[in-house]
C-alpha cells in the first residue's frame, strides 16, 4: 500500500501549527513595541516568515 509522503505530512503539520499561531487568542498577546516597531506587526510578520522558512526547509530538503 502506498504511504503518504513524509514531506507532505510535515508540511501539513506546519499548516496545523500555523493556524493557532496566526489567529486569536494568541494574536492578542503581543503588546508594546520593539525598536519603535509595534509588537503586533513584528509578531505577525515574524511568525509568517518563520512558517515560510520552515516550509522551504522541509520542501527543498534532498533525499526525503
Amino acid at each position: 500500500m502506498k504511504r503518504a509522503s513524509p514531506t507532505r505530512q510535515r508540511l501539513a503539520a506546519l499548516g496545523l501549527l500555523g493556524a493557532p499561531l496566526l489567529t486569536y487568542p494568541l494574536l492578542s498577546l503581543p503588546a508594546g513595541s520593539l525598536w519603535g516597531i509595534p509588537a503586533s506587526y513584528l509578531y505577525l510578520f515574524g511568525v509568517w516568515a518563520g512558517l515560510i522558512f520552515l516550509a522551504a526547509w522541509v520542501a527543498e530538503r534532498r533525499g526525503t
Binding site: 499548516g15 494574536l27 505577525l44 516550509a55
Partner: protein
C-alpha cells in the same frame, strides 16, 4: 515631466507589448517542446491572486482595519501547506482531463450537466463584479495621473475605462484561445502572468521603500509618529474583539486561493509538473509576505501626510509619490497596478469562458436542431468562436457593472463577496475528493442552499446599500419578519456581514450536502467516478476502465466525432499518438473497444467538458447500461483484489518470520551438535589420557618382573589414581545424564549450610595447602538451615572450591568462602583472585562441555561438567547459581538456596 494622456497611453501600450512578447516567447518555446515553465515560474504565476485590489485596495483597507488586511494573505499561506490536497486535485484533473472547476465538480458527480451549469452560474455571478473592480481600479489610477497634469481621460468620446476593457478583452482572446483543447496548457499566458507578478512586486516595494525611507525616517520613525496620533495608534493594535472576523477571513481566503476560477486555472489546470507545487508552497507565501511588508507603512504614511485633505486612501500608492514630485515612481506604480489588473482579468476571463462555453453554451447547442443539421461540419472553429465571444461578454459585463455601480458600496466590498461565493464550492470539492458516498443530489442541494444564503445575506444587501433595490429586507426583514433580516438571520447579530454570511451559508451548504448525500443513492456513473476521484492514487485505470464500459461502438463514428470537435488535423494527431502507444502504425486499424471509447471521451472532455463529452459519445455508441449493482461489483472486485494482495503480502511476511525462526532453531541445533562433537572429543581425550598411562605402566610391570619394589609401588600408585580419575569422569557423565533425564535420586532433609561449607573446606584443605593457596572463610557459627540434599550441596561446594583452586596462581592464590542470609534465601559465595572471566565467559561456562581457560592451548583442567551439574542441583532446590567477574579481578561464584517458609 508632464503626465499627459498620450504618455500614459504610450507607456501602457509599450508595457502590454512587452507582455505580449513574453507570452509569444513562452508559447513558441512550448510548441518547440522546451517549456519555460519551471517551478519558480509556476510559483510566481500563482501571484495572479494579488489583483489591483491588493495593489491599491490593501492600503485602503489598512487605513480603516489596521493589520486585518493580512488575513487575505495568511489564509493562502496556510492552505498551500496542505500540499497533499492540491496534488490530489492536480492528479485527478490530469487523469480526467479536467479543464475548469465546474468540470471538476460535474465530473465527480456523474458528469452532470446540471451541476456544471450551476457552478458556472455561481462563478460568473460571483466573479463578474470582481472584474468590474479591476476596471474601476484602472480607471481610478488613470484619473489620478491625469488630474495631476490637468488632462482629460477621453478619447474620441470614449472613456478610458472602456478602452482599457476592450484592450484587456482582446489580450485575453489572443492569449487564451490559440488552441482549442483547454487541457493543453497556455504556457505563454502563465509566463506572462509570472512576469507581471515580478513587475507588480517591484513597483509596490519601490513605492514602499520611497515612502518609508524617503519621506520618513524608516519603519521605526513612521510607527512612532503614528502612535502619537490617537486615531492611528488604534490601527497598530490587534483587538481580540475582531477575533471572529479574523478567523473567518483566513478561512475564506484559504478557500479562495484554490476555488477562485483563475486560481484553479493556474494551480491545477496550468500545472506542468506536480513537483512544482513543492516550490510554490513556500515561494508564493514569501511573495505575499514581501508585497505586504509596506502596506501598513504606506497607509500610515498617507494618513500622516495628507491629514484631513480627503485623499482617497485607495490611491495612496500613486498620490504619495506624486505629492513629492516623484513622477517616474508614480508611473512605475501605475504600471504595477496595470500588471495586477491585466493578469487577473486575463486569467479569470479565460477560466470563465471555458466554463461558459463547455457548461452553458455547449449543452444548449448539443440539443439544438441546427447543430444536428450540420452533422458533418467541423465544429472546432465554432468552439473557439464561442470562447472568444464569452471572453468579450464577460469583460463587457464587468464594464457594465462598473458603470452601473460607479462609486457605490457594491464595489468596495466586492472582493470578499466574490470570495464568499466561490467558498460555496468547498464542500462539494473536498467531499468529492475524500468521501465516496457523496452524491450528485447532495452536491446540487448543498450548492443551491449555500448559494441562496450567500445571495440573500451578502449580494442582495450590497445591492440594497447601493440603492438599486429596496433595503426593507435588510432593515426590517423579508415580509416584515424580523428573524429574516438579511444580515442578522434568526437574530444572529454581532458578526460582521462576511462572517455572518460565511457561517450561515456553510451551515446550509454542508448540512444539505451531507444530509441529502446520506439519503440518496448514486447511479452507476457517479459510483464509478467517485472511485476514480477518491482513490486516484490507487485506482488501476487500465483494468477497471475497460470493464466499466460495455456496448457497441464504431471506430468511424467516434473518429468523426473527434474530428468535428477537435478539428481534423488535431484529431488525427491524437489518434496517431494513441495508436502508437498501442503499437499500431495505422490508427484506422484500432479496435473500437472500451479503451478506445474511453480515450475518445477523454479527448472530447478536454475540448468540451466531461458532461458534454459523455452526451456526445453516448449519441454515437450503443452503451449498455451496467446498472449500479454491476458497477459496484466491478469496483468491489477491484477493491477485493487490492485486499487480497494486501493479505498475500501479510502472509508472505509471516512466512518470512517463520523461516527466520526456523533458521535460528537450526543454528542452535548445529551449535548443540558441535558442542556434542567437542564434548566427545574432549571426553575421549580425557578418557584416553589416564587409560594410556594405566596401560603403559601395566605393560611395564607385566613385561619386566625385575622392577624395583619402590618403582613398582610408585607405578601402582599412579595406576590407582588414574583409575580413580577415570571413575570420577564416568560418574560425572552418568550423573549429568541422570540429572538431565530427571532420573536422579534425591534425598531431602534439614541441612546446615554453614556446616556443609566447613566440612567441605576441611576435606579439601590438603589440596589448598599443597598448592600454597590461602583459604579463608566467613561463616556463622550456627549456619542457616535449608531443606535440601546434604550430599548434593557438598558436591556443589566441592566443585566450586576445586575449580577455584585450579585457577588461582600457586603460592599467592586466595580463596574466600562466605555464607550469609540474603532476603528469603541463604547466599553462599566462593571468591578467588584468579584470572577472572569476560562477560561472555560468565554466561557460557555454565553450558555443558565448556571449559574454563583456553581449551585450544591449555591442557583441560576439568571435565566441563562440574558447573552445569552444580547449576542443575541448585536449580532443583529452587535456588540460583551464577558468577560475578571481570577479567583480571578474580571470580565470585554465588549460589542461593531458599530458606524454608516460616511456620508461623
Amino acid at each position: 515631466m508632464v503626465l499627459s494622456g498620450w504618455l500614459i497611453a504610450l507607456l501602457s501600450a509599450a508595457y502590454l507589448a512587452v507582455l505580449f512578447a513574453v507570452a509569444r516567447f513562452g508559447d513558441a518555446r512550448a510548441d518547440a517542446g522546451k517549456s519555460i515553465i519551471s517551478a519558480n515560474v509556476y510559483a510566481l504565476s500563482l501571484a495572479v491572486y494579488c489583483t489591483s485590489w491588493t495593489f491599491y485596495g490593501s492600503v485602503g483597507r489598512a487605513t480603516s482595519g489596521g493589520l486585518s488586511f493580512l488575513t487575505i494573505y495568511l489564509g493562502p499561506t496556510l492552505m498551500l501547506l496542505f500540499v497533499g490536497v492540491i496534488v490530489k486535485m492536480i492528479r485527478i484533473s490530469k487523469a480526467q482531463r479536467i479543464t475548469s472547476i465546474a468540470d471538476f465538480i460535474a465530473s465527480r458527480y456523474g458528469k452532470s450537466q446540471l451541476l456544471a451549469g450551476m457552478v458556472t452560474v455561481i462563478a460568473v455571478i460571483g466573479v463578474v463584479p470582481y472584474i468590474a473592480l479591476q476596471l474601476k481600479a484602472m480607471a481610478a489610477s488613470v484619473d489620478v495621473l491625469l488630474n495631476h497634469s490637468g488632462s482629460k481621460g477621453e478619447w474620441l468620446g470614449l472613456d478610458s475605462t472602456f478602452l482599457i476593457a476592450v484592450i484587456l478583452a482582446l489580450f485575453s482572446i489572443l492569449f487564451g484561445t490559440r488552441h482549442l483543447d483547454a487541457t493543453e496548457r497556455h504556457e505563454g499566458m502563465v509566463a506572462a502572468v509570472a512576469f507581471e507578478s515580478v513587475v507588480k512586486l517591484i513597483a509596490f516595494m519601490a513605492v514602499g521603500i520611497f515612502v518609508t525611507y524617503g519621506l520618513f525616517g524608516g519603519l521605526g520613525d513612521l510607527f512612532q509618529r503614528a502612535v502619537t496620533e490617537a486615531d492611528l495608534g488604534r490601527l497598530l493594535e490587534l483587538e481580540s474583539g475582531r477575533a471572529g472576523t479574523w478567523t473567518s477571513l483566513i478561512l475564506l481566503s484559504g478557500l479562495a486561493i484554490v476555488f477562485l476560477p483563475r486560481q484553479f486555472q493556474i494551480i491545477v489546470v496550468e500545472n506542468v509538473d506536480e513537483s512544482h507545487v513543492k516550490r510554490a508552497v513556500w515561494l508564493f507565501p514569501l511573495y505575499l509576505l514581501l508585497i505586504n511588508i509596506f502596506v501598513l507603512p504606506l497607509a500610515l504614511g498617507g494618513l500622516l501626510h495628507f491629514g484631513g485633505e480627503g485623499v482617497n486612501p485607495d490611491t495612496f500608492v500613486l498620490t504619495l509619490p506624486l505629492a513629492h514630485g516623484a513622477e517616474a515612481l508614480a508611473l512605475l506604480a501605475f504600471i504595477g497596478g496595470l500588471s495586477a489588473a491585466t493578469g487577473m482579468v486575463i486569467v479569470e476571463t479565460i477560466a470563465l469562458s471555458t466554463m461558459v462555453c463547455n457548461d452553458l453554451v455547449m449543452p444548449l447547442l448539443l440539443r439544438s436542431a441546427w447543430l444536428r443539421a450540420q452533422h458533418r461540419q467541423d465544429l472546432s472553429g465554432l468552439l473557439i468562436g464561442i470562447r472568444r465571444v464569452a471572453i468579450a461578454m464577460i469583460v463587457l459585463l464587468g464594464y457594465v457593472y462598473f458603470r452601473a455601480a460607479g462609486e457605490a458600496y457594491a464595489l468596495v466590498g466586492i472582493g470578499l463577496i466574490s470570495f464568499a461565493a466561490v467558498a460555496q464550492f468547498a464542500p462539494a470539492m473536498f467531499g468529492g475528493m475524500y468521501w465516496k458516498q457523496a452524491t450528485r443530489a447532495g452536491a446540487v442541494a448543498g450548492l443551491s442552499a449555500g448559494f441562496l444564503v450567500w445571495l440573500y445575506t451578502l449580494l442582495l444587501p450590497s445591492f440594497a446599500k447601493s440603492g438599486w433595490i429596496s433595503s426593507g429586507f435588510v432593515e426590517q426583514g423579508l415580509f416584515g419578519l424580523p428573524w429574516l433580516k438579511a444580515q442578522a438571520l434568526f437574530g444572529l447579530s454581532g458578526l460582521d456581514e462576511i462572517s455572518h454570511c460565511l457561517w450561515w451559508s456553510m451551515l446550509a451548504n454542508l448540512g444539505a450536502y451531507i444530509a441529502v448525500s446520506l439519503n440518496s443513492r448514486p447511479d452507476a456513473v457517479e459510483a464509478s467516478q467517485a472511485e476514480r476521484f477518491v482513490d486516484v492514487f490507487r485506482f488501476d485505470r487500465h483494468k477497471a476502465e475497460t470493464r466499466l464500459w460495455r456496448g457497441k461502438a464504431s471506430l468511424d463514428a467516434l473518429v468523426s466525432l473527434l474530428e468535428r470537435f477537435l478539428g481534423t488535423a488535431r484529431a488525427r494527431q491524437q489518434l496517431a499518438a494513441y495508436a502508437q502507444g498501442k503499437g499500431l502504425a495505422d490508427w484506422r486499424k484500432l479496435p473500437a473497444d472500451a479503451e478506445f471509447v474511453h480515450f475518445a471521451e477523454a479527448e472530447l472532455a478536454g475540448a468540451i467538458g466531461s458532461a458534454s463529452a459523455r452526451v456526445m459519445v453516448a449519441s454515437v455508441a450503443q452503451e449498455e447500461d451496467l446498472g449500479l449493482e454491476e458497477v459496484l461489483d466491478i469496483l468491489d472486485e477491484a477493491t477485493q483484489i487490492r485486499a487480497y494482495s494486501r493479505e498475500l503480502e501479510a502472509k508472505r511476511q509471516e512466512l518470512e518470520a517463520a523461516t527466520s525462526e526456523l533458521r535460528e532453531a537450526n543454528e542452535r541445533l548445529r551449535e548443540v551438535d558441535r558442542m556434542k562433537d567437542d564434548f566427545i572429543s574432549t571426553v575421549t581425550h580425557e578418557l584416553r589420557t589416564p587409560l594410556t598411562s594405566i596401560r603403559a605402566l601395566s605393560e611395564m610391570l607385566h613385561e619386566d618382573p625385575r622392577i624395583e619394589l619402590a618403582s613398582r609401588t610408585r607405578f601402582l600408585g599412579i595406576i590407582v589414581s588414574e583409575a580413580e580419575r577415570l571413575t570420577r569422569l564416568i560418574n560425572q557423565i552418568l550423573d549429568m545424564a541422570k540429572l538431565e533425564s530427571g532420573r536422579a535420586e534425591w534425598t531431602s532433609g534439614a541441612v546446615d549450610l554453614g556446616e556443609v561449607a566447613r566440612e567441605t573446606m576441611d576435606s579439601l584443605g590438603q589440596l589448598f595447602r599443597d598448592k600454597g593457596v590461602a583459604l579463608s572463610s566467613d561463616i556463622p557459627a550456627r549456619g542457616p538451615v535449608v531443606q535440601a540434599d546434604h550430599d548434593r550441596l557438598t558436591q556443589v561446594l566441592i566443585n566450586l572450591l576445586s575449580n577455584a583452586v585450579k585457577f588461582v596462581p600457586g603460592g599467592s592464590g586466595k580463596v574466600h568462602v562466605r555464607v550469609g542470609i540474603d532476603g528469603g534465601s541463604v547466599r553462599v559465595e566462593v571468591a578467588d583472585n584468579g584470572p577472572g572471566l569476560t562477560a561472555e565467559e560468565c554466561g557460557v561456562i555454565f553450558e555443558k562441555f565448556r571449559q574454563g581457560g583456553n581449551t585450544l592451548t591449555d591442557k583441560p583442567k576439568g571435565t566441563g561438567l562440574g558447573l552445569p551439574i552444580s547449576r542443575q542441583i541448585i536449580e532443583y532446590f529452587g535456588g540460583k547459581l551464577w558468577v560475578e567477574s571481570r577479567p583480571g579481578e578474580g571470580a565470585n561464584f554465588i549460589f542461593t538456596v531458599p530458606l524454608p517458609a516460616s511456620e508461623e
